[in-house]
């Protein structure tokens, strides 16, 4: 059995180190926050404009003005700060964020990440992924099994930029047998 989304996120969470400033992408990367290992504390950045992002709010306590980059309602931890997106990307491009976890549909052997369009079929936009790839010290890539198997090898031209990712996790069809029990590491 290939790993499910939670299992992939839990593995990615093992890459976190105590005290790091971390940006989590949309999708499986967001789930990484649920699996931060005991004894490790990281500060989460949300690129729409906050540091110190906390868990989803309790029922009835959601604040429409407090959302993450995926538009989900979140909370702020003690010590959090808010700022405009332009400052958020200054942190990212300026090399101040230690680690990012990004979703990808395709990853090349040299570390190109494709995650924002399927030529002729779908276009979402790169959002902040290209800035994160360019500016964050360590890039961890996770692959959503459903997306990468639906559109295998169809993404050339939609790259976010070349960058050696720390490693990636995949459960796409082509690698299922190998990745069911271990990771593809680069």
């Amino acid at each position: 059995m290939p790993w499910n989304r939670d299992q992939i996120a839990a593995r990615a969470a093992l890459e976190l180190r105590d005290g790091q400033y971390v940006n989590l992408g949309i999708g499986i990367p967001t789930l990484v926050a649920n699996f931060i290992p005991t004894g490790i504390e990281v500060i989460l950045q949300s690129e729409n404009g906050m540091l110190g992002m906390g868990p989803f709010p309790l029922e009835g306590e959601a604040d429409p003005d407090l959302i993450n980059a995926g538009k989900q309602t979140v909370t702020a931890l003690p010590g959090a700060s808010y700022f405009p997106s332009v400052d958020s990307f200054a942190m990212i491009r300026g090399g101040h964020i230690d680690l990012t976890v990004l979703g990808a549909m395709e990853v090349s052997a040299k570390g190109d990440i494709a995650n924002w369009a399927i030529p002729g079929a779908m276009v979402k936009g790169m959002g902040g992924a290209m800035d994160l790839v360019a500016g964050v010290k360590r890039v961890v890539v996770v692959m959503d099994p459903s997306i990468s198997t639906a559109h295998p090898k169809s993404l050339s031209g939609a790259s976010c930029g070349s960058r050696e990712p720390a490693w990636w996790i995949s459960s796409s069809l082509t690698c299922v047998s190998r990745l069911a029990t271990r990771f593809a590491a680069v």
Binding site: S46, E47, N48, G49, M50, P55, F56, P57, L58, E59, G60, E61, A62, D63, P64, D65, L66, I67, N68, G70, K71, Q72, T73, V74, A76, Y82, F83, P84, S85, V86, S88, F89, I92, R93, W116, G120, A121, M122, V123, K124, G125, M126, G127, G128, A129, M130, D131, V133, A134, G135, G157, A158, S159, C160, G161, S162
Partner: protein, 172 residues
């Protein structure tokens, strides 16, 4: 609304993933789309407001984003030149405004608002609350009134949440 009536000719954006109508119009060739990395888009707008015609960033080097643009090496690394971005009209949503146009945003609603307010010829602000001049702490103002041309009070203060995500109380 403008998409519904096909009044949008071109859009410059970084993420359009959740707008189905937009996706249809773009893929069928009715709508021109320029996708920018989000940080590049933010910085282009900042540059527009600050009177800086171009800047270099490493974001997008080696991708379609850099096609047709000047790429230059600084201290051994490649950077792509991006141009400023300005608008005729900016529509800004603020939390509090005073009559001088000073603005305060709330939590993550700040987003692109202060940057965009500075980059338009005419900046129209919809504020949840308009307060007396002098009642906002000058140290806490996010957008100084110099960038703001008109303020209207919001008549619809029911805020919609696109993706409500919560934890059940039992889990705590």
């Amino acid at each position: 609304m403008l998409l519904d009536s096909r009044q949008v000719r071109k859009m410059i954006s970084s993420y359009v993933g959740e707008n189905k109508l937009f996706g249809q119009q773009y893929l069928s060739g009715q709508l021109e789309l320029e996708l920018n990395p989000q940080g590049t888009l933010a910085e282009r707008i900042r540059a527009g407001g600050a009177g800086i015609p171009a800047f270099f960033t490493k974001t997008g080097v080696g991708t379609v984003v850099a096609e047709g643009k000047e790429v230059r090496a600084f201290d051994g690394e490649l950077y792509v030149m991006e141009r400023w971005l300005k608008a005729d009209l900016a529509l800004i949503k603020a939390w509090k405004a005073d009559a001088a146009g000073n603005l305060v945003f709330r939590k993550t609603a700040r987003n692109f608002n202060p940057t965009m307010a500075a980059a338009a010829k005419f900046t129209l602000v919809e504020a949840e609350e308009i307060v007396e001049i002098g009642s906002l702490d000058p140290d806490a103002i996010h957008t100084p009134g110099i960038y703001v041309h008109r303020v209207v009070r919001s008549t619809i203060n029911e805020k919609r949440i696109e993706k409500l995500t919560v934890r059940p109380r039992e889990a705590v």
